[in-house]
Symmetry: C2
Subunit: 374 residues, 2 copies
């Protein structure tokens, strides 16, 4: 039995599932709950639904004001009335991913089997598991074909997994700043972040929530490491250069001297208030494990027969998910004979570009979506 | 009074100084000791001396077997009989930098004023301070003009500082994988590493050695972060790709799955045995503070009149000290009318290339040194 209820903690909804969810690992989860939000209206023939997939530290609130941070949603530049993903035309669905920490079943939630917080007993999940849960939600909303599935970074991984797993339920796919698989360098960055968390004594072998503490230091450093990879060298140069933070001279010490230090420390500290450390471990692991090429090739007949249109976008200064990786996606899709367009947007703002006001990205995406609609 | 004695802890020598050393910060150090090693023989007219400057985690043992790690010296490929820096022709000097942890005065040594370990009471040092100490050593060895000063990474910073501070004592300079100043991105990486150390509860506000502990976890993560920046994306791909570590399938957990994880954890763990965490803080801070352009311009007359020849080498895949930075060095040196040659060596091994068997680097450097000699 499945049931959709109003989310009492945050705006939006929760889909409660009663069946056992079998995961990629062979393990299972009971009573999965999926927290999601919607924008715009589903039309009568249910042909205007767009699923938005969030990145590592995103949530189900891409548009309007985020009810938790009270800031603009993470993709508010992209989604809203009259915007690229126009909520006056499209019905937008966004759910917190499996393993997340904003209401969907994850390591910071209660394990219904034990009535204790999952913590590190939460099973390891994959991008495929995340998408499996999204498919349950889409089924429950009685949407047979999504107009599009769109996402950047870890969102792109989910998008590509949708094409591999459920091509019959799609009309189009928009992959932004993504890759067919996580590179060795990216696994390395993830591992450094995870070690930072797991070596923090307050991690308590993953049981910190039961023991009423938090690995704040470890999570903060993990965020700092990751944040560097989101910007480009040029972006750092432009934003901060070697400017000093509210002082004229070097302090000759280890307090903040440079603006870039202040920025990084702030990024680290503010992150721990809104994100669960174990969730960070599970999601980075899901990204490490992601390697979708074979599944796409295996399902190529269905991808072709469903005439799925693909848009693959990358950014010139993105070194975390460089254009080389997007070229790999395009190349694979071409090799199976699918309908694929691509664009490399010129931007000096690094991986973060996908979240910023990149006019070219909006223009291309707007046109692509119109092409599907017509 | 100054005195050179045999180093009883390690092979090599120690220069003991009695005078007060005034630092860039305005603070001072008493009774500075400089641990150094030499290779080859100084000729009669003292014209064959080459000073080798080490990088962040290097030491005074670039050639032969390292007496501490029992592995080959960090630049054994470059320095030795018949090699690029040929110890049958040249007299090679290498000292542990000020603030280091292999015998030269640094935070892990006893403060002669208090008879306690310096720890975080050690004054903040700069690259200029490091070079000032090297100059004392060169003076004490009665060498008026160094045939060359050579170094990569933080070694390059010292090399450029030599040109700015003591041009009258130089015949040539070899800067490898260097920069005129530390970039904002590099300061950011340094800061993430420092925060990892300083947020480790075992750091004990810098007094860990007095309290008989070590911030091993923090230092280990700092090393992991740094190590990623030493390799290129291509090097990671070639070396590890997504290969699994001694297993056939994913473990669906947070233990080591991928070879790259095993490698990184090993790099982190083995580093804490041989390096002092506070030293790591002081050296990265010295790099952050480095910004030598103005000093070079200020001293340009002496650089020109002493006919110093410069060689500036970078590597195509180095993203920590990219060719762009070396171009900046060349451009500045050209703008003051100095004698500068440069080369960008094609290598896919990232910043680490300067320590590896890069044939083109050896060939260029050998020729450059011959040109000085003749």
């Amino acid at each position: 039995m499945r049931e959709i209820i109003q989310n009492i903690k945050y705006p939006g909804f929760i889909l409660k599932c009663d069946e056992e969810l079998i995961l990629d690992s062979g393990k299972s989860l009971d009573k999965v709950e999926i927290a999601y939000q919607t924008y715009g209206k589903l039309n009568l023939d249910k042909s205007n639904a767009i699923l938005v997939c969030h990145a590592l530290t995103g949530d189900q609130f891409p548009a309007e004001k985020n009810p938790i941070t009270k800031k603009k949603g993470w993709w508010d530049l992209m989604i809203g009335p009259g915007k690229t993903v126009d909520t006056e035309k499209y019905f937008v669905i966004c759910s917190n991913v499996l393993g997340g920490c904003v209401g969907t079943t994850g390591p910071n939630e209660i394990n219904p089997k034990t009535n204790k917080i999952y913590g590190i007993d939460f099973p390891t999940i994959t991008i495929q598991d995340m998408v499996k849960v999204q498919k349950i939600l889409i089924d429950e909303l009685k949407i047979e074909k999504l107009l599009s599935v769109i996402g950047g970074s870890m969102g792109s991984m989910q998008v590509l997994q949708w094409a591999a797993s459920y091509p019959e339920s799609l009309r189009s796919i928009i992959s932004i700043a993504g890759a067919l698989k996580h590179s060795a360098q990216n696994i390395a960055f993830d591992e450094a972040g995870r070690q930072s968390i797991m070596l923090d004594p307050n991690w308590r072998k993953g049981n910190y929530l039961s023991e009423d503490t938090k690995p704040e230091n470890g999570l903060s450093v993990a965020r700092m490491i990751a944040h560097i990879t989101y910007l480009s060298d040029a972006a750092f140069q432009k934003k901060f250069g070697r400017n000093l933070q509210e002082k004229k001279d070097l302090s000759f010490g280890f307090d903040i001297d440079f603006q870039v230090e202040s920025y990084l420390r702030y990024q680290g500290k503010s992150f721990v208030d809104r994100f669960d450390a174990n969730s960070y471990l599970y999601m980075t692991r899901a990204m490490d494990y992601f390697d979708v090429s074979e599944q796409i090739i295996k399902n190529k007949k269905s991808i072709i027969s469903n005439k799925i249109r693909f848009l693959v976008v990358s950014f010139t200064s993105d070194w975390l998910f460089p254009t080389k990786e997007s070229r790999g996606i395009v190349s694979l899709l071409n090799s199976i004979g699918s309908l694929v367009s691509s664009a490399e947007v010129v931007s000096d703002r690094g991986h973060d570009s996908f979240l910023l006001d990149e006019h070219q990205l909006f223009k291309i995406t707007t046109g692509f979506l119109k092409g599907i609609k017509s």
